[in-house]
């Protein structure tokens, strides 16, 4: 009997592995914003909880803690009005690839938009260098080769030797773009608490939330990103 079971499980293993051999396609992760609900209205200055669900055929689901918290991002973008939304989403497509590169390379483990982590904030980097092609060129070098001694004496940025120049330039551009945009913020994790802006800036009537997750592909190749968007009205 046990012999038979062992044989059976062997057959199953063979069946499974041959199945994955013929099924190399990596599925796109499913990302859902559970809270706050799409098209809800909240007041300026209030505190809201957010919750995102991720489920990916290969990586697993956030419900069972199979998704690494630091790999789930929620982007907040304040927009003046409803009619700016589609425009913004269109424009944002241009930086989608660079944002994926940023995730692939773990840049956001050491950098955040507004705070210093191990590395300087994107805001501080943008303030220091400004937006210019020469800046992107210069910073792309740093990103590839690593950096030490510019922002402090005790931290260093490791090199990213596998990045090609073009991608490093795109990354530098995104760093400065994020650092310059006062209406954007980025959170990590499947849940958290957001302190909404006060209505000092009458130009922010809509808050666009974009949750995203870049999966691990099949053995790290062919990684795919899933996204979900929710629109919140501020009053």
């Amino acid at each position: 009997m046990t012999k038979y079971l062992a044989l059976l499980s062997l057959v199953i293993i063979i069946a499974l592995s041959s199945f994955s051999l013929y099924h190399q396609d990596n599925d796109i992760p499913v990302v859902e914003i559970i809270d706050p609900s799409n098209r809800s209205t909240v007041s300026y200055g209030s505190v809201i909880n957010y919750r995102v669900n991720i489920s990916d055929k290969e990586d697993g689901t956030s419900k069972y803690d199979e998704i690494q918290q630091t790999e789930v991002f929620l982007q907040l973008k304040y927009l003046p009005s409803e009619k700016d939304v589609s425009n913004y989403l269109q424009k944002e497509k241009q930086s989608e690839k660079a944002f994926i590169l940023m995730k692939q390379n773990g840049c956001l483990n050491c950098h955040s938009l507004q705070y210093k982590l191990a590395g300087p904030s994107f805001r501080d980097i943008a303030t220091r260098y400004g937006a210019a092609t020469t800046t992107y060129e210069k910073l792309s070098e740093k990103i590839i080769k690593g950096s030490h001694g510019v922002w402090g004496d005790s931290q260093q940025m490791p090199p990213h030797p596998d990045l090609i120049k073009e991608d490093a330039v795109a990354l530098a551009r995104l760093v400065v773009q994020y650092g310059t945009d006062k209406n954007i913020d980025l959170y990590t994790g499947t849940e958290g608490t957001i302190q909404l802006r006060k209505n000092q800036n009458k130009n922010a009537a809509v808050l666009l939330l974009t949750a995203s997750y870049l999966d691990h592909g099949i053995e790290s190749a062919n990684r795919k990103e899933g996204r979900a968007v929710a629109k919140i009205y501020l009053k």
Binding site: A118, G152, D153
Partner: protein
């Protein structure tokens, strides 16, 4: 809140300031259980600081609950055993202590019966400089030093003092003025917070080689002189060589605190928001995914600022406190644990205490040598984002001996990727801003008190944690 503690609060409406004399030598004794009213306290964060604060408060008869987000306590003091053979272990986080220098920490070791072992990880260091390896002997050889580019004074000094002590050649004349390790101001250097410490070295006649080695172009002279003076006042050298670690791994101390605290420590309880007013605090958190609420008279925050920022606190802090919480800076990196099948370096008659000049793997040394096996643990420190495989390749490539390192497996903890604690150690305060951080970083805000590695004078994490935890517990006890 009990009516007793409310009365207590009214009696002390002016929140106790942080006295600079608080840390005199007399504080290294243990307090008696206080005769004051029992207070209810929530400790946020179950790292070594939170556990120590909880233990101190419990000892003084108060009602404490420690809320820890993750499924283990200890935070950055983290001894890993998983997957390692022969009962071996490796410290993923904090790895050494000094004596003197860690007075509060040693006091707890004695009190709780935790054993420390000598840790020769800094003896006979082999340093890779510009690709070439140097022994300590070589680095005290006049001709080697001259060839490296040091000037005559430096060569003289380094031929008689250890290589790491070069900094003393330039900062020693300044240190005597500091007399209280908690007071950087008013000793005559207040105007040097905008001066890079590198300028002090230059003024002292440092060569280009020395300036390159010492760095400091971005470090405040006031801050750096104060830091060096703290070491001097504690009776430790600029780079203590005789260091120690705990038998069985450094987690033994947090574990000993937690054991005393028992079910007062609650795991898997990420805090989401804190409300506070004159009467007390109310904390919202999750327990096993379910929303919970807890009220208390006081809260000790023992979560490092980068993680604490994610918690919404209402009402918000004063602009001064918020500035500190937003701007205190940390470094973050990775710990590698190489399990090897032999002491391969002994064949080569070289030291395994090696500093590489690779950006991926910075240093290696042996640990866990009290475990009775021929296998050995070699720990390493390196950059975040580097795979263990790459670190192993760098180790094998750069190792200077003829024998191949007998690495059987490598595991690692990349702190840059940690969900709750992505930081390692607090670094220096930015130039020209010491007065904004100090002593604000230690001060309570209403009923919220601050403990943790960032909230003491020196960034030697485990001692800063125990000192600050003791301070916060003492402040609350006396409030």
């Amino acid at each position: 809140m009990t009516s007793n503690s409310r009365r207590n609060f009214i009696r002390n409406t002016a929140v106790a300031g942080v006295g600079t004399s608080l840390m005199g030598p007399q504080v290294f004794t243990s307090p008696l259980p206080s005769s004051r009213a029992v207070k209810k306290i929530i400790v946020a964060g179950g790292g070594i600081a939170g556990l120590c604060a909880g233990y101190e408060l419990m000892k003084r008869g108060h009602d404490v609950t420690v809320l820890e987000a993750s499924g283990r306590h200890g935070g950055h003091v983290f001894t890993a055993r998983d997957g390692l053979s022969d009962g071996l272990y490796g410290d993923y986080g904090a790895e050494h202590i000094t004596r003197p220098g860690y007075e509060r920490y040693w006091q707890y070791l004695n009190e709780l019966g935790v054993e420390a072992l000598p840790y020769p990880r800094r003896k006979n260091l082999l340093r890779q400089i510009d690709g070439k390896f140097y022994t300590e002997e070589m680095l005290s050889d006049r001709s080697v030093l001259t060839k490296m580019g040091f000037n005559l004074t430096e060569v003289d000094y380094l031929s008689k003092h250890p290589y790491w002590d070069l900094v003393s050649l330039y900062n020693k004349p300044y240190l005597d003025k500091f007399t209280d390790e908690y007071q950087p101001f008013g000793v005559g250097y207040d105007n040097m917070d905008n001066t890079p410490i590198a300028d002090i070295y230059k003024k002292g006649g440092a060569s280009a080689k020395a300036l390159d080695l010492l760095g400091g172009a971005n470090t405040s002279a006031l801050f750096e002189l104060w830091r060096s003076a703290i070491l001097k006042l504690r009776g430790v050298s600029q780079f203590p060589v005789d260091v120690f670690r705990l038998k069985g791994g450094n987690q033994s101390l947090p574990t000993a605190f937690a054991k005393k605290l028992g079910d007062r420590v609650q795991l898997n309880c990420p805090i989401q928001s804190i409300q506070h007013d004159k009467a007390g605090v109310r904390v919202k958190f999750k327990w096993m995914g379910e929303p919970q609420e807890l009220s208390a008279d006081y809260l000790v925050n023992a979560i490092p600022p980068p993680a604490f920022r994610k918690i919404i606190v209402t009402p918000g802090f004063s602009p001064e406190k918020q500035f500190v919480l937003d701007n205190v800076q940390y470094d973050s990196y990775q710990r590698f644990v190489f399990q090897c099948s032999s002491k391969f370096w002994e064949k080569d008659k070289i030291s395994i205490n090696i500093e590489f000049d690779s950006p991926d793997l910075w240093s290696v040394w042996q640990s866990a040598d009290e475990i009775d096996t021929h296998r050995v643990i070699v720990l390493g420190t390196g950059a975040g984002g580097i795979t263990p495989q790459r670190a192993m390749a760098v180790f094998k490539e750069n190792y200077p001996g003829a024998t191949k390192p007998t690495v059987e497996q490598v595991v690692s903890k990349d702190w840059t990727k940690d969900g709750f604690a992505p930081t390692c150690e607090r670094v220096h305060f930015p130039m020209g801003q010491l007065h904004k951080f100090w002593p604000e970083i230690m001060k309570p805000s209403g009923r919220i008190y601050f403990a943790g590695a960032s909230t003491d004078n020196l960034n030697w994490g485990m001692e800063a944690s125990t000192r600050s935890a003791y301070r916060a517990a003492d402040e609350i006890d006396k409030a």
